[in-house]
Symmetry: C2
Subunit: 160 residues, 2 copies
């Protein structure tokens, strides 16, 4: 899928989103790690984020509770595997805390923020354990959902 | 299972082995991380280790190829998630490299080496994603196999 600025694609078990963001990597990293900022862009409106907790270090936990327009809440728990400040964040839902296996390892998310003349080349890669899970994620609306979020992220970092 | 010195037990999705080892944690950590040493104790004889590669840091890969008495080779790939020198090593087979999902996330191994008056309280915990996997691991011979390896480890660190 390609909007004017966001491209999503499929590569084996991976779903990939790329976008140039008109702000430096520091701001994009901050929007990914500061709960107050993450809350403002991480759900595709009219979905919202009810709760965010981020302990941004390898082995640290994250909790993001998404809220549907009808008010139903969906908690997402994960663990950070790798954090390179302003450059890269890797986390997975295979653990709910260090090192508590989750009910189902579904994906590992690899976010990279590359500096490009004051802007950021933003790549979000959702890597699944199986192709079936990658397909399920597509059916859940990855391409549209993540693209909306990327637009919301770009809009937010443009004004912080 | 309890031999004179090694105890193994089951706790939900976990299989646990404990043993006092008559050497300081530094030596036990070394036997877990130095390929030349790991090779000497990690397979329950008459099984042996054909190859060992260890990149001991969060996100580093490990490869241990076990060889059956008949000469068949069984490669085990994993990734280190947490390393605290001389104290603690956590690794999983959910990834074959950082961050390549493996075919099947089976377990996370949590090794702790606690100093106890010049000796080491050694705890090896195999934490599985499901109880079915824990049971399968028991049927594969966890209790006897890991106990033999712990004896071999204790014997080795007593003379290095």
């Amino acid at each position: 899928m390609t909007t004017s600025q966001t491209t999503t694609s499929t590569e084996g078990r991976d779903l990939i989103l790329t976008r140039m963001i008109d702000a430096p990597p520091e701001k994009v990293f901050k929007a990914w790690t500061d709960p107050a900022l993450l809350k403002q862009w991480f759900a595709p409106l009219p979905w919202t984020i009810a709760t965010v907790e981020t302990d941004v270090r390898p082995g640290g936990s994250s909790l993001i509770v998404m809220r549907s327009p009808e008010g139903a809440e969906f908690p997402n728990r994960g663990v950070y595997l790798e954090v390179v400040k302003n450059q890269r964040i890797v986390f997975t839902d295979a653990y709910t805390a260090a090192w508590e296996p989750s009910e189902k390892p579904f994906m590992t998310a690899i976010m990279t923020f590359e500096e490009a003349g004051g802007k950021t080349k933003y790549t979000a890669r959702a890597r699944h354990w199986t192709e079936a899970d990658r397909e399920a994620h597509e059916k859940m609306g990855f391409h549209v959902g993540w693209a909306i979020c990327a637009e919301q992220l770009a809009e937010l970092v443009g004004r912080i």
